[in-house]
Amino acid sequence: MQALAELDLPYLPVETEEFAADPVRYFNAAKVQHPWIAESDIGFFIHEYTAIRELLLQDDKMRPAYDGIIEQMGARGTPWGRFTEEQLISLPAEKHRFLRDTFAAKFTPRFANQLRPMMRQTISELLDEWTPSGRMDFEEMASYFPISNMFTLVGAPREEIPAIRSSLETLGLAFSMDKNRLPEIHEAYERLEDLVQRLIANRRANPEAGNPDDLLALLINTGDEGNVDPRQLADLIIFFFIAGYDTSKNVLTYAMFKMLDRPDIYERCGADHEYCRKVVEESLRYFNPGSVPRFAAEDIVFRDVLLPKDTMLWFTLNISGHDPGTFEDPERFDPDRPIAPEKRQIAFSLGKHMCLGQYIARAQLQEALHLIPQRIRNPRLAGEYGWRPYPGAWGLKGLPIEFTPA
């Protein structure tokens, strides 16, 4: 058995702009030196698809590392720090299971399918608003799609979308591990917390004013039935906003980016709703914003390497689909690529923390990918684009396009 310190591991400069612009190149170079693990200033990165799959499914040997992130960021004792350390994903196993089971009914494929008409209406209204000029920052337009859906789901006042969008933009950069961002992170979190507390208080004071079947009603009612602490109820709704924003927005933006060079796929999306499902899965393989931080909760021996207790491990869901050891010709974007069950994309993670909103995310992406090509014809890149910091929430920063409105 080898100790981590004895391995000659590749070093990854994950915090740099150069890395964020092309992490796959760095990880592929790292694989030459060691096939599945690399080191960085913020922990070890597990980057081989099969290693990620095998380790992440060993839930009982690891714990979420959000406390480690807060420690590194120097944010312990702040409202954002408290939330991050106590959010759903960070809770002890029993409490996590209870809350997750309590709210699972509103995150099933059936529920996601029921939301499709609302999703179609949202994206249609956004396209009405954004397409007439024939130019747009696609990422900015896309950002209003998941947040508008989430506002509808909890009956939040739509005039507050711009301010909360700004908060979510900032909070999405929180895991870039840049301490300079802390003041704006705290301000963004306070704004979101304020909205969520008002939503809960208003609905409790006047239940008839809201939709009795919406997500907020369910969360409050099932929370009350299960004696869920008011703090945890608010945290769940804050988590819902944070988890649902960058993820869908960044994937939709990247899918558009890829299809700028693949008009054949783009046009077929506009014509074939079912085909969009394949494009969603291939897009999630090719790109997703997620890196999952974990601590080893005990000494873990994996492939004859000892990962000591309390080692910080990052699981790179975001580049896992580019692993040449698992995916044939991984750089080819091919929605018709055959999918072997054991080689499915893992954008939504694995194990007990697998994304609760995965079916809502898939439905949103499918509906958007079907309607956008019907309204944005012949899109072309029309300026510079950038990259959001790695490890996350990683993705394109800005995607200026010009097109023919339809």
Binding site: A104, A105, P109, R110, F111, N113, I346, L350, G351, M354
Partner: protein, 106 residues
């Protein structure tokens, strides 16, 4: 302890002894039976541990919860007796249970 037969779509059979209290999914995973992914680790969230159970065993396997039913109905393979194996607790009365796996868990 119950003897459970896992039948792959190609007809290959795996007969294993599974302790009471485990789930049918865990029985497969612990014995390396192929064809059951269980990406969510048994939390009724991913739909990748689907099996089919024949009529005589359905009642003994228990009823699917609302969440389970709402999860599996969206999967493309269809037919009676579809369940998530992570939601079936093994008990002595399931001794002899046969579960059939779909062609793919995609």
């Amino acid at each position: 302890m119950a003897k459970i037969t896992y039948l792959e779509a190609n007809g290959r059979e795996h007969v294993v002894d599974v302790c009471a209290g485990l789930t049918v999914m865990e029985g497969a995973r612990n014995h390396g039976v192929p064809g059951i992914l269980a990406d969510c680790g048994g939390n009724c969230a991913c739909g990748t541990c689907r099996v089919y159970i024949d009529e005589p065993w359905l009642a003994k396997a228990g009823e699917a919860s609302e969440v389970e039913a709402a999860t599996i109905e969206a999967q493309e393979d269809a037919g009676p007796g579809k369940r998530l194996s992570c939601q079936i607790k093994v008990a002595d009365e399931l001794d002899g249970l046969v579960v059939r796996m779909p062609e793919t868990q995609c």
